[in-house]
Amino acid sequence: MAEIYPSLVQCAIVATAFKILLFPAYKSTDFEVHRNWLAITHSLPLWDWYYEKTSEWTLDYPPFFAYFEWIMSRVARLADPAMIRVHNLEYDSWQTIYFQRWTVIVTELVLLYALQMYKSILSGSLRAAHAAAVSILLSPGLLIIDHIHFQYNGVMYGILIASLVLAKKKSSLLASGLVFAALLCMKHIYLYLAPAYFVYLLRVYCLPPKSSPRSIFRIQFLNCVKLGGGIAAIFAAAFGPFALKNQIPQIFSRLFPFSRGLCHAYWAPNVWALYSFMDRLLISLAPRIGLPIKADALNSVTRGLVGDTSFAVLPNITPRMCFVLTLLFQAIPLTKLFMRPTWEGFIGGVTLCGYASFLFGWHVHEKAILLVIIPFSLIALKDRRYLGAFRPLAVAGHVSLFPLIFTPAEFPIKTVYTIFWLVLFLMAFDRLAPAPTRQRLFLFDRFSTAYITVSIPLIFYCSLMHGIIFGKSYEFLPLMFTSSYSAIGVVGSWLGFMVVHFTE
């Protein structure tokens, strides 16, 4: 097989050099969160992990992630023993920074490996698969979240991609399911994608293939036992030790803190951001059209920085409503997947599950957009219709991450890197994506071009002009614009992709 240049490894080497240069960059409280988890897992017995609360950043990821931290803490001890003391809050010696930043870079090798797998397994255009793989490897989302803000998404999205790729071949379907189960035991946010896995594995692994003359309800029992047993074993390995001491309720109270508000401190660009934006517009319009305004909600809405959003004009949203809407919009594309279970349809289903939970979920964080972008990247180059839906998502999703990094020194890095990535890959994708077999949605293409064009003045206004015109006042305005703008892009690309998914 002829190699395509630049190879993934070459890209990874240069990207690593850049990431090392970013060591002294801004790091969020997540850095301290992970340091604290290193300390907890290193110094406390297993059964105290989910009870420890010296730091406010208690352990709230599932057990496999805790084991992962435990393994890293063995090495951390050699780098700087002070780092792994539970009481050493906010400790950030240079050894600690170097060590933690390095762990992110090293564990990201999993992503590199998964992308190699993706390339080797794909049948269609090798150049397109290569471009998609490189685009994920160099994703500005991962750069901003993992290497500046600080988290371990690289390794986990690597595992997710490996699992998605394994689902391509019939022989490795079981492995795909088990790898995904393990991923769930590492970070429970991937539960959002679980319905697609459930439907797909049920259909192609547990039920007989469609071509078989027998009834669809003739279940493949052996496969069910293998899958069920495997998943049970993985969950037992993760939660078993804690179940022995009846700690499961405590763990669940840590993993699912339902007391949080609808919108995160900053509005993730989803339907609720548009809803909040409408509400804000209605505050000024309400007196004229005679709608009542809830006075107590006014204060929190105007700030835009809300723990527990309440709306002044529109009805309030409950977690139950979010849950029902999410499930509904996941179910719609999954029925299609059930009827016609192809691998591309599965990736599309995973993507649409990500979309639904991101757009309608309760307390969604803007970082969750990667749940949509990364699976989507794997099929974005299928043809120009897919690409048409992907383009506004790529712009909106990455622009919406900008408020995560608000320090002036990192400002040029996040903007220039994202613009570089968008220009490079949207240009490359444009050349590589084949013409579709079906009619394209011409209006949608117009929308996506217009949408991308608007981003330029928007970034310019939010990052520069606002500060010059208003100084420190109305700080919520740029955030609101960014979030509403991105929300329109994400919703638009969702609608576009739904159409593509159903007309395929």
Partner: protein, 571 residues
């Protein structure tokens, strides 16, 4: 490399990165992407510390540049060169002062406390750091980068190099680790001066000799270090007047007078603001000496006897004399600190300090002249033979100055490295031989600056940027790909590989020593001295290689002497 463009596999990683752009991608789509990437690496490197960070009492280069912004924005122009010498007194030519004034004015709009007179000394406000980093980056993007892009484009076209190959060379030139480390990490504005020199060289290639004068005067006016190139500029321009398009001397007098005039006018433009400012301030009663004293001139004391100190022009004379006095501190020693310079290395063998300073100065002068006359003579005799001679002659001359002149700083190695690295954009520039030598010079250059960088904890950016560049160009220690190619003599290949291999191994070994072995108590500087010794030897080889290439390329010697004839036939 023209041949290599047909090859199916990129011969080193940097070519692989530009591989998809070989066909169908216009250079104008590629260029913005290149500029974004090199900018990202510069800015990310700038997140690290700068020289003198939290190192009282004097701090470092960063404080010097900041301090100049402070004094130029607060003091009357006539006092700029007279203000407190002890605290980083302004000792760069006027263009640096004007540049500081502009930066200081803009910075004061953001936060006046950054440049408050006297109170801001040694400030390490983190936002100020961002502003200062931004001034370096913006200055570079306004001067060095456009000059480099235009130079590389023109130089490649004249050398018959395809556009894609020249883009590869452009990235290699812009990612040069030494420049990024010194300007964007350690902190200085060398790229502004280097950019003007590049613009001057580019004008020479284009035949715009008056512009070449203008840009070169601007380079000199920004940093006196540009004098390293002055002989080559002079030799080239004189050569163009005498041997225009032919080997038969024919002195073009109008051209000569034009060039002389252009130089004078350029200097006049350079000095105009400070002269006009001094005159206008003198008429308003503001003098260079706030106390009202009239100290004698610091240099040329006899001059004052012939002048009327009360005349209207006297403040201007005083100003210019003081400026020269500040810019050329003749009173300092032969070398500062430990530099990979011939004299510093000699000092280990013979203690040079026991000789009278005057003798040493004369010795340095003779040695430097001996080193720089041959390349400039060739450039004078063959100014337009082919475009590759220009960077070669500039590099050879700058190496000569760096090795033998007086008062050299380790950062001055940027001067020979710049024109030498430009060779990558020339004929066969990315072929193995040139790549190996240019790479060797750059990596050795970075390595000799390591003691300077590690003093301010910059080991990580040093390692990352140097190794990254070596990797991109397929050089040791990451790859041996730059050695052994078909077509040239096996002996010279082995010799190059052996010599370079020896130096690379020594550099690695030195790093191991420096990291794990403490220098003996009675010789605390032993490792630094070893660094200097190896550096001088390596740089001398670079000088010889540049000179040798210049002799061969210029075809100034009879063909039978250089073996060039045989080579041309075999091609």
């Amino acid at each position: 490399m023209e041949r290599e463009a047909l090859v199916r596999i990129p011969s080193f990683p940097l070519a692989a990165f530009l591989w998809p752009a070989r066909s169908s991608v216009s250079q104008w789509e590629l260029l913005p992407l290149i500029l974004m990437v090199v900018g990202l690496f510069r800015w990310a490197a700038g997140l690290w510390g700068y020289s003198g960070f939290e190192k009282p009492p004097l701090f470092g280069d960063y404080e010097a540049q900041r301090h100049w912004m402070e004094i130029t924005t607060h003091l009357p122009i006539s006092q700029w060169y007279f203000h407190d010498l002890e605290w980083w007194g302004l000792d760069y030519p006027p263009l640096t002062a004007y540049h500081s004034w502009i930066c200081g004015k803009i910075g004061s709009l953001i936060d006046p406390a950054w440049f408050a007179l006297h109170d801001s000394r040694g400030s390490h406000d983190p936002t100020l750091k961002i502003f200062m980093r931004a001034t370096v980056l913006v200055s570079e993007y306004l001067i060095y980068i456009p000059a480099a892009v235009i130079f590389v484009r023109r130089f490649s076209r004249l050398s018959g190099v395809p556009a894609w190959t020249s883009s590869v060379a452009l990235v290699a030139i812009l990612m040069q680790p030494a420049t990024i480390l010194i300007d964007h990490v350690h902190f200085q504005y060398n790229t502004v001066m280097l950019g003007f020199v590049l613009a001057s060289m580019s004008s020479m290639l284009a035949g715009r000799d008056f512009w070449a004068c203008f840009f070169f005067v601007m380079a000199l006016g920004f940093k006196q270090m540009a004098l390293y190139y002055a002989f080559s500029v002079f030799a080239y321009l004189l050569g163009v007047c005498v041997f225009h398009r032919t080997n038969i001397p024919k002195f073009n007098i109008p051209k000569f007078i034009g060039i002389a005039l252009a130089t004078v006018v350029s200097f006049a433009i350079l000095l105009l603001p400070i002269v006009a400012g001094t005159l206008s301030e003198a008429s308003r009663g503001i003098t260079a000496h706030p106390g009202g004293a009239h100290p004698p001139l610091p240099l040329f004391a006899d001059l004052a006897k012939h002048l009327n100190t009360e005349a209207f022009y006297y403040p201007v004379i005083e100003q210019l004399v003081q400026m020269i006095h500040r810019i050329f501190p003749f009173a300092r020693g032969l070398f500062e600190d430990k530099v990979a310079n011939f004299w510093c290395a000699m000092n280990v063998v013979i203690k040079l300090k026991k000789y009278p300073a005057e003798l040493l100065q004369k010795g340095a002068l003779v040695a430097t002249l001996a080193a720089i006359v041959p390349p400039n003579l060739i450039l004078f005799l063959r100014p337009n033979k082919h475009p590759g001679l220009l960077p070669l002659a500039f590099a050879t001359t700058a190496w000569g100055f760096f090795l033998f002149s007086y008062q050299v700083h380790e950062k001055s190695v940027l001067l020979p490295l710049m024109p030498m690295t430009l060779l990558l954009a020339g004929r066969q520039g990315l072929a193995k031989d040139t790549r190996a030598w240019v790479g060797f010079a750059n990596i050795l250059g970075c390595w000799t600056m390591y003691p300077l960088l590690q003093r301010v904890d910059l080991r990580v950016p040093y390692t990352v940027l140097t190794l990254l560049w070596a990797y991109l160009l397929g050089l040791p220690p990451t790859s041996l790909n730059a050695y052994f190619q078909d077509g040239s003599s096996i002996w010279s290949q082995w010799a190059t590989a052996f010599i370079h291999g020896f130096f690379y191994l020594t550099m690695v070994f030195w790093h191991v020593l420096d990291m794990f072995v403490v220098a003996p108590k009675d010789k605390p500087d032993l490792w630094v001295v070893a660094n200097v010794g190896v550096g001088v030897a390596g740089f001398s080889l670079c000088y010889l290689w540049c000179l040798g290439s210049l002799v061969i390329e210029s075809e100034i010697l009879p063909p039978s002497w250089t073996g060039k004839e045989a080579k041309t036939k075999s091609e």
